[in-house]
């Protein structure tokens, strides 16, 4: 091996031209591609949300017909979950995990390249269904059978293959994270010294490996039902439509933690930095993350309280779901205690991180309400649920991603971003997002079902407010694009450690991080504070 180790002392830069990006095995390049791709998907999925909100601006059908409306809700969900949020976190993992643990790259660089390039193929396939005869997927992002099998448009087969590609990509990404974290840590860096972002991603990667094959299984069963005469989900042939939901949610519930745990990790780095105070309860944070991950496997049927599961099943899933509040509470209390008696300043990453804690907790509260099975009979499949999961995903996952982006942009680009514009981005997003999603609690409780293109007049006013908020939130994201481009092109030079309160190995390399870092592992000892 020693023969191939580069020992002649100068750094190798990237290849030139387009092929740099096509063939790259560099974790920074691949991280960048993931982040750019995910932002493109964020705008694509967001534009579909704009269509949805425009149609719901007023009662009556104005802009689109119900069949197209259903394609919009379905594609919005799929694109945001699989195209925007998940790849964004993989991008952050690619960029930051090697830098945080002192590794020269990800453990499996070629697979890394492949897992990224599967994504444009998957989403190209998915987006092409919109132009097919009969339209794209119109059965909701949860694609319940038999609406997604017997009654689906013909494009469903393309949807199935797109999901397969996304799944393969995610599994390879997860394997890469696990291999990197377990094998490439700098000498002396113990597991319990790792930054929480690395910890949460390690646990997320195990969740991914556990559940993505289940998703692949369920879409394969659909494929068999549609084309090969099986009856997994058809009672007429001895199957059961509810089986679909059990299998789907066995994937789906851990999936929601896949989309939030890395954000927990990033926020656990950002709040201590801008509080200038160590993270409160590091050990309990690690164990709480593990507990949440474990519980996520035994609560899936709380998405199915109304399908007619027996009383004992109902009780089990209600109790197990309520239990999740305990470790989640521990995390929130820890973040609040980290801020307590700190020395706080509110740069853009901190603004997004604090909003993350408060608004994610509101989403957690509505989650706790949804866990109460008898009350869930009233909430289930109404806008209350839409409000709930948008509160955990938008100010949760997406604010977590924005906080991370602003926090690490100086490291990525070597320039400071425009703080004034970034604060404007935060406040407009904050106002728009709350205006869009808070009223959804009200219309849901008042009885408005989700996934409907038209509604009774009693829901009219809050829907109009929601739409205005959504337009504001949507338009504001173009500002983020502008801020990032501006930061990449220039700006005040960023120091190796631009945040005075920050800790961790990523701040020991120059800004922008050189193309190759930590070719010689850094020294880490017991007393080093990396988080």
């Amino acid at each position: 091996m020693s023969a191939v180790i580069d020992s002649h002392g100068h750094a190798h830069g990237p290849a030139r031209g387009l092929m740099r990006w096509v063939l790259t095995t560099n974790h920074k390049d691949i991280g960048t591609m993931y982040l750019v791709f995910s932002f493109a998907m964020f705008l694509f999925g967001g534009s579909m949300a704009m269509v949805i909100r425009a149609e719901l601006f007023q009662p009556g059908l104005q802009i689109v017909q119900p069949e197209f409306f259903n394609q919009m809700t379905t594609m919005h969900g799929l694109v945001m979950v699989f195209g925007a949020v998940m790849p964004a976190f993989v991008g952050l993992a690619n960029w930051m995990i090697p830098l945080m643990i002192g590794a020269p790259d990800m453990a499996l660089p070629r697979m890394n390249n492949f897992s990224f390039w599967l994504l444009p193929a998957a989403f190209g396939l998915l987006a092409s269904t919109l132009f097919m005869e009969g339209g794209g997927p119109n059965f909701g992002w949860t694609f319940y059978a038999p609406l997604s099998t017997t009654y689906a448009p013909e494009s469903v087969t393309f949807f199935i293959f797109a999901v397969h590609l996304m799944g393969i990509s995610s599994i390879m990404g997860a394997i890469n994270v696990i291999a990197t974290v377990l094998n490439l840590r700098a000498p002396g860096l113990t597991l319990m010294q790792m930054p929480l972002f690395v910890w949460t991603w390690l646990i997320t990667a195990f969740l991914l490996i556990a559940v993505m094959p289940v998703l692949a299984g369920v879409v394969t069963m659909m494929l068999m039902d549609i084309h090969f005469g099986t009856s997994f989900f058809s009672a007429a042939g001895g199957g059961d439509p509810v089986l679909f939901q059990h299998v789907f949610w066995f994937f789906g519930h851990p999936e929601v933690y896949i989309m939030i745990l890395p954000a927990f990790g990033a926020v656990s780095a950002i709040i201590p930095t801008f509080s200038r105070k160590p993270l409160f309860g590091y050990t309990s944070m690690v164990y709480a993350t593990g507990a949440i991950a474990f519980l996520s496997f035994i609560v899936w049927a709380h998405h199915m309280f109304t399908v007619g599961i027996p009383l004992t099943g109902e009780l089990f899933f209600m109790y197990a779901t309520m239990l999740i509040a305990v470790p989640t509470g521990v995390k929130v209390f820890n973040w609040a205690s980290t801020m307590w008696r700190g020395s706080l300043s509110f740069e853009a990453p901190m603004l997004f991180a604090v909003a993350f804690v408060i608004l994610f907790t509101i989403g957690g509260f509505s989650g706790l309400m949804l866990a109460i099975a008898p009350a869930d009979f009233q909430y289930h499949d109404t806008y209350f649920v839409v409000a709930h999961f948008h509160y955990v995903l938008v100010p949760g996952a997406i604010f977590g991603i924005f906080a991370s982006a602003y926090y690490w942009l100086p490291k990525w680009t070597g320039h400071m971003y425009d703080e004034t514009l970034a604060k404007l981005h935060f406040w407009l997003s904050f106002v728009g997002m709350n205006l869009a999603f808070f009223p959804m609690h009200f219309v849901g409780l008042a009885g408005m079902p989700r996934r409907i293109p038209d509604y009774n007049l009693m829901f009219a006013n809050f829907n109009m407010v929601s739409s205005i908020g959504a337009f504001l939130f949507g338009a504001t994201q173009l500002l983020f694009l502008f801020i990032v481009i501006k930061c990449v092109r220039g700006g005040p030079v960023a120091a190796a450690k631009p945040w005075d309160g920050a800790h961790g190995l990523e701040w020991t390399v120059p800004s922008p991080a050189p193309y190759h870092t930590f070719q010689t592992p850094p020294e880490v000892d017991e007393r080093s504070r990396l988080h």
Binding site: P66, N138, T306, G308, L311, M318, F365, M369, P374, P449
Partner: protein, 374 residues
């Protein structure tokens, strides 16, 4: 505006009543049954628990944000763990959850007690309507959206019960324990009436149970809550609770109507009568997919105008309407509709929108076709 004086008047009237309408509805209603009230109480209890926890946690955060700022020269403390505090904030939430689980369990057990009903009604979800069958009573009917298309397309002002009104509501007696046997004929639907706190998925091939006991006569409205395709938003549920006497009278009337309907099969129908009835029945049962123009929405919902089946031999046309087409959204209407309606619809389809087969399908033809199949 002057070209549509009535529309203008309607819009003005609607605007004038705006403040009176509950357009700002913010919360669940306590509903009309004992169960719905205990669900409402659970909802409010857990809500206030969340509010209290939120005030404490967010209060501490806002205190830090206001008082512990670097701009005020605050020096950061360096504490980073405290075993007892951490144990405390694990145990306290757990205890709160246990206290919350007790009433929730009690209500859930109550909701699951489907025994000893006074009346059983089978509810079947179809794309996109509900079918109600009073078990042992020989009364059954479909319940379709009654909101006119013009209101949905914004050509007429929307009335108060826009999208929450049906042609035939489900009628139940007050004070009786009514058990619902919920199932579906095609995809999964979900039958929900908020005021009764009953939401049960209607799953093809399986039967779910639910029950209610309504205390006051009145009209209670809800909707399908499981995405079931194109017109998911257009299949409301309306339950009308009547006093025992009124209910008995309604039931007797309904039985008489059913009997009269059966006698219609034997009647001699003229072409024009069938066409008139067929147009109406077509609008209710077929137009959602095949469209009022008969042009459908290819390729999912084929056109009937000029189609090979609708202009070909009678037998083929009867077969597809009565038996449906497996693997597609085309349902088997043979068991859903009366022989008269089937005959009228098929006659209409063969002679509308420029289809000019000229023949007429009588209810007797339908009966004979059904017999031949058996």
């Amino acid at each position: 505006m002057s070209r549509h004086p009535r529309l203008w008047l309607g819009a003005t009237l609607w605007l004038a009543t705006l403040p009176a309408q509950a357009n700002w509805a913010v919360n669940m209603s306590p509903g009309a049954t004992e169960v719905s009230r205990s669900v409402f109480d659970l909802h409010m209890t857990i809500f206030w628990i969340c509010v209290v926890i939120g005030v404490v946690v967010f209060g501490a955060m806002f205190w830090s944000m206001l008082m512990h700022r670097r701009s005020q020269g605050q020096q950061p403390a360096q504490f980073h763990e405290h075993t007892w505090v951490e144990i405390l904030w694990t145990i306290v939430p757990f205890v709160i959850l246990v206290l919350m689980a007790v009433p929730a369990t009690r209500t859930l057990i109550d909701i699951y007690d489907n025994s000893e009903s006074d009346l059983d009604i089978q509810i079947t979800g179809y794309q996109w309507k509900w079918h109600y069958k009073y078990l042992g009573q020989d009364v059954e009917f479909f319940s379709n959206l009654a909101t006119p298309r013009t209101q949905i397309d914004n050509q007429a002002p929307k009335d108060e019960h826009y999208l929450l009104e049906v042609d035939n509501p489900l009628v139940v007696p007050v004070g009786a324990k009514v058990r619902f046997l919920v199932t579906a004929a095609d995809v999964i639907h979900s039958w929900w009436v908020p005021a009764l706190a009953v939401k049960k998925d209607a799953i093809p091939g399986f039967v779910n149970e639910a029950w209610t006991r309504i205390e006051q006569p009145g009209i209670y409205r809800g909707q399908c809550t499981e995405l079931c395709g194109k017109d998911h938003g257009f299949m409301p549920v309306v339950v009308e609770a009547k006093s025992a006497e009124d209910y008995a009278a309604w039931l007797a009337e309904r039985k008489a109507v059913a009997l009269a309907e059966k006698e219609l099969t034997g009647k001699e129908w003229t072409f024009d009568e069938l066409m008139a009835r067929g147009e109406q029945a077509y609008q209710t049962n077929c137009a959602a997919c095949h469209q009022p123009t008969g042009e459908g929405m290819p390729p999912v919902f084929p056109a009937l105008k000029g189609s090979a089946i609708a202009t070909g031999p009678k037998e083929g046309h009867l077969a597809i309407v009565l038996n449906g087409k497996p693997g597609t959204a085309m349902a088997a209407f043979g068991k859903q509709l009366s022989e008269v309606d089937l005959a009228a619809i098929i006659t209409f389809e063969r002679n509308a929108w420029g289809n000019k087969v000229g023949d007429l399908v009588t209810p007797q033809d339908i009966a004979a076709f059904k017999q031949a199949q058996e």
